[in-house]
């Protein structure tokens, strides 16, 4: 049986997988792009954290608001989506011993994403879009801001579609038989949600673009919010599904963990697809006009069935590790298996820390602040960024960092440069983010608003005084941010130096 492009594969000496060379190039290219935007977002994070720390108050107000806009965009969209595209090509092609369908289109997708990201960044840094990534109508940005995001989204839609095609073709060409590996299945979940997300993004950004040009006269702000969050919230669930898939991958790679019950894990992923979109209501709980039954059904992701999915993974992932570790002989007491886990392996420590922080701080806080009535005490306070830095940064980003330490030797075939730094990096990053998150949560409980340059209100006719404790809690934000960015820079350094100078592997 001769299949097209046979000459374009190599066999991985470590895993025996047939790696499609065009796919390999695209995985590395998208991952590098991801890390570049992570670096930009990280430097912005440093400046922002040092501004919210009242003792430093680094940036002037206009730059603060500009950089928060840029930081949100570069981190939440560009870093994460470029990395996820790399992950999709890995899960769809490499793990299935398959060829990536139409690599030419994948390159088109890449260039569209780069073009959109550069355009959007250009407009923001030029001061023409100081509107936060949410760009709430009737606040208006320059049309090129919306256009940049649309172009990026078109590229991402192409990439996601190629992933689906690759999986279908892998089966059709007999390169993969049987059910998909769980990691690929998890990524498939993420891709399905991503497709919905990107289409919803088109539905909101295209009319807003036309409105910014003056072609549409009126844009109801309430309608904008509902449509925006129909895009914005599922976007986060893409990150959740991808992160969980990465946890399965990393625990398998570092401890030999196997899924304890494939059926259970797959059903848990399925729950994400079915119910995750309803969570958009979390952003609209204290909006005018929406009714209570609507809020209750949606805010609960329809009876919290999507949360049930997460709680299932919360058991399955450590259980897989425990079974693997016990089989190695670590059977003493309740936790010897955990103490003897490979905490020195950056892939394991990243996955474990990401799992714990996401679980205890991110997921729980999300359910709590997303509860209809409880949201009244939370909306637009610093508790909101406190929540999502625990999920998307300590959770998804840290897990992706852990995976990178394997992608570099296995896909890019370079030894890691600075292994001792890689080993300690997840701990530094986790410490920084935890401090940041705790600081944000305590500040928000004391009433500190999000997206606000200064809390001294010295320019206001009517004074506002927050409790003294906020200088401590906001100090935690500043110091946590410093430590986290240090951890981020170590990661970027190891990644880039390894790709450029790491010893080549067979």
């Amino acid at each position: 049986m001769s299949t097209p492009g046979e000459a374009q594969f190599r066999t991985c000496s470590a895993t025996g997988l047939h790696v499609h060379l065009p796919a390999e190039r695209l995985i590395i290219t998208n991952a590098v792009a991801a890390v570049v935007f992570l670096l930009v977002g990280g430097l912005l994070a440093l400046l922002i954290a040092l501004t919210r720390w009242p003792a430093v108050q680094l940036l002037p107000a206009d730059l603060f608001y500009r950089f928060v806009t840029a930081h949100g965009m570069n981190m939440l969209v560009f870093w994460i989506v470029f990395f996820e595209v790399a992950g999709l090509y890995f899960g769809g092609a490499v793990l299935l011993n398959a060829r990536l369908v139409k690599p030419g289109l994948a390159w088109l997708a890449f260039y569209l994403m780069v073009a959109g990201a550069i355009l959007a960044n250009g407009v923001v840094f030029a001061g023409k879009a100081d509107v936060m990534f949410t760009a709430y109508v009737p606040m208006k940005a320059h049309p090129l801001f919306y256009l940049g995001i649309i172009v990026f989204a078109v590229g991402a839609i192409i990439a996601v579609s190629l992933f689906f095609a690759t999986v279908v073709v892998a089966k059709a060409e007999g390169r993969h038989r049987g059910s998909l590996p769980l990691v690929t299945f998890g990524l498939l979940t993420a891709a399905i949600i991503a497709l919905f997300t990107l289409l919803a993004g088109a539905i909101i950004f295209i009319p807003t673009f036309l409105w910014s040009l003056g072609w549409i006269k009126e844009f109801d702000p309430g309608v904008y919010r509902i449509l925006f969050w129909a895009f914005g919230h599922p976007a986060q669930q893409v990150n959740l599904a991808a992160m969980v898939a990465v946890w399965y991958a990393l625990t398998a790679l570092t401890t030999g963990a196997k899924p304890i019950n494939e059926k259970l894990s797959r059903i848990a992923f399925l729950l994400y697809i079915l119910f995750i979109n309803l969570g958009s209501m979390h952003h609209l709980l204290v909006d005018p006009a929406l009714t209570t039954p609507n809020r209750i059904v949606n805010a609960s992701y329809f009876m919290y069935l999507a949360v049930l999915g997460s709680m299932i993974h919360a058991f399955s992932i450590p259980a897989g590790v425990e079974v693997a570790q016990r089989a190695k002989g670590y059977t003493r007491g309740l936790f010897q298996w955990l103490r003897k886990a490979p905490w020195g392996e950056p892939g394991f420590s990243a996955a474990a820390l990401s799992f714990v922080i996401f679980g205890f701080l991110g997921g729980t806080s999300g359910v709590i602040i997303g509860t209809m009535q409880l949201n009244m005490a939370v909306h637009n306070t610093l508790r909101v960024p406190g929540h999502f830095h625990a999920t998307v940064v300590a959770g998804t980003t840290l897990a992706f960092m852990g995976l990178t330490y394997y992608v570099i030797p296995l896909v890019a075939r370079r030894e890691l440069v600075g292994r001792p730094w890689a080993r300690v990096q997840p701990y530094i990053f986790a410490l920084g983010i935890t401090l940041l998150v705790l600081g944000m949560n305590f500040s928000g409980i004391l009433g500190i608003p999000r997206r606000t340059w200064s809390i001294n209100y010295e320019g206001a006719p009517l004074a506002v005084r927050f409790p003294e404790a906020v200088s401590l809690t906001l100090g935690m934000v500043g110091i946590g941010g410093l430590i986290a960015v240090f951890g981020l820079l170590i990661f970027v350094g190891v990644a880039i130096l390894s790709l450029l100078f790491g010893k080549r592997r067979a």
Partner: protein, 45 residues
């Protein structure tokens, strides 16, 4: 043996069970604490 008859491979993960219960206690505690805080606010509807 009973396990073989049912085709069920019983996994043995007491450590994980302990961890998820600790998590549940944390979750439940903070959740209800949040409701208590809410009850201290002005009545509103």
């Amino acid at each position: 043996m009973a396990e073989m008859q049912s085709g069920r491979e019983e996994i043995h993960t007491p450590g994980t069970l302990a961890l998820v219960f600790i998590f549940l206690v944390w979750f439940v505690s903070f959740y209800f604490l949040a409701w208590w805080f809410l009850s201290q606010l002005w009545p509103v509807r």
